[in-house]
Amino acid sequence: MLYQDQFPIVEERQPIPPAFETFGLPQRGPRVEFGFVSCALHNRFLFLSREKDQLIQFQSDRLLHNWRKGLNTENEYPRFESLIKDFEAELYLLNEYMKNLNTQDLRINQCEITYTNQISLKGSQIYPSQWFRIMGLDDFNVENMSLTFTKLIHGSDNSPTGRLICEVNSQLDSVGAPLLVVQLSARGAPRSTSIADALDFLCIGRDLIVKMFAEITSKAAHAVWERTQ
């Protein structure tokens, strides 16, 4: 079975609905998400590594590869360069499998890369607002907060190809300590439907996410991370 050696644990979940980035009218307000869920769909299958820190998710129209830190604080992020190589191998493996069934290559119509960072506020020396350049809520004691904004990703001909999506939300960790969850995603259509162009989009998206994270976080936050790294 595909991926069985490295991902021997199988779980089943409801499928994720399709999501496409399209462009037209200037967006004047928050993005209103709506859709329909009345069609019969196959489930989403999760294939987890023995340590459960890496997983492949597969459904009829998606392949995802996730890394997660989990509760093991010693678990180090294997870095993007390593993960994208794994994902490339998984995509080509799936492509070969599908070609045997369909005599047709995968045709990829949408790509997404997401980084989720948890910033613990427990014992923090600086205010939550001081982590970010984009907020000025000093001394403003909020119960919880949620912030979302998007930016366009442009192709080489300057036409829009995707969006950078930034979401910051307050949450509690597993022991009830406050934290901020920063989720940065790049999503859009690859230049063509080939695997090579899909991987190219993910690499560009990753660079944009890293750049945006540095842009939205403050010097004070960088100083704290420097100290804790």
């Binding site: 496409f20 709506f34 009829s60 129209d61 119509n109 993910l202």
Partner: protein, 157 residues
């Protein structure tokens, strides 16, 4: 998370379904918006068409194509714009169409990111272009179509 999407290999089947059943089928709409609700209901109908709905071997509209169309149309919802006619194709594709006295626009959604756009303006000039996910050009067409349509209605009144 790294993701790639593809479509076409596994069409949703109506057998062995464990994720959703009829009792849990529902329409999700963020707020009361008749325009969007009409579009969603029509798309919902189109993905539920039976195989052979045309009397031959036509397929229902592909789920991913319907979702892409929904995303596309939200980018084209200019004030005063009519809900387009949504017409199924026989290969899981569909067309979104606006017809007024001053012209017509047809967007043939073959698959996500594969759209053939056709515009007949008030001078009977035809424009045809292949689009992927950027519909800025169509916004201009629609504004002309609706603007000219409103002008024609005002003249007739």
């Amino acid at each position: 998370m790294i993701t790639a999407f593809s479509e076409g290999f596994f069409s949703p089947r109506r057998t062995n379904v464990t994720s959703l059943d009829a009792s849990r089928s529902h329409v999700l709409v963020a707020e009361h918006d008749p325009w969007s609700e009409t579009v969603v209901r029509r798309l919902d109908d189109l993905v539920h068409l039976p195989i052979g709905w045309d009397g031959y071997a036509a397929r229902p509209v592909q789920f991913s194509t319907a979702y892409f169309t929904l995303s596309m149309l939200t980018q084209l919802k200019i004030p005063g714009c009519e809900v387009p006619q949504l017409v199924p194709g026989v290969n899981g594709d569909l067309q979104a169409e606006w017809h007024t006295e001053s012209g017509s626009i047809e967007l043939h959604v073959l698959a996500p990111n594969r759209v053939e756009a056709w515009y007949l303006d008030h001078d009977q000039q035809v424009k045809e272009v292949a689009l992927t996910n950027d519909f800025t050009l169509v916004v201009g067409w629609l504004e002309s179509l609706m603007g000219n349509g409103r002008a024609a209605e005002a003249t007739a009144a």
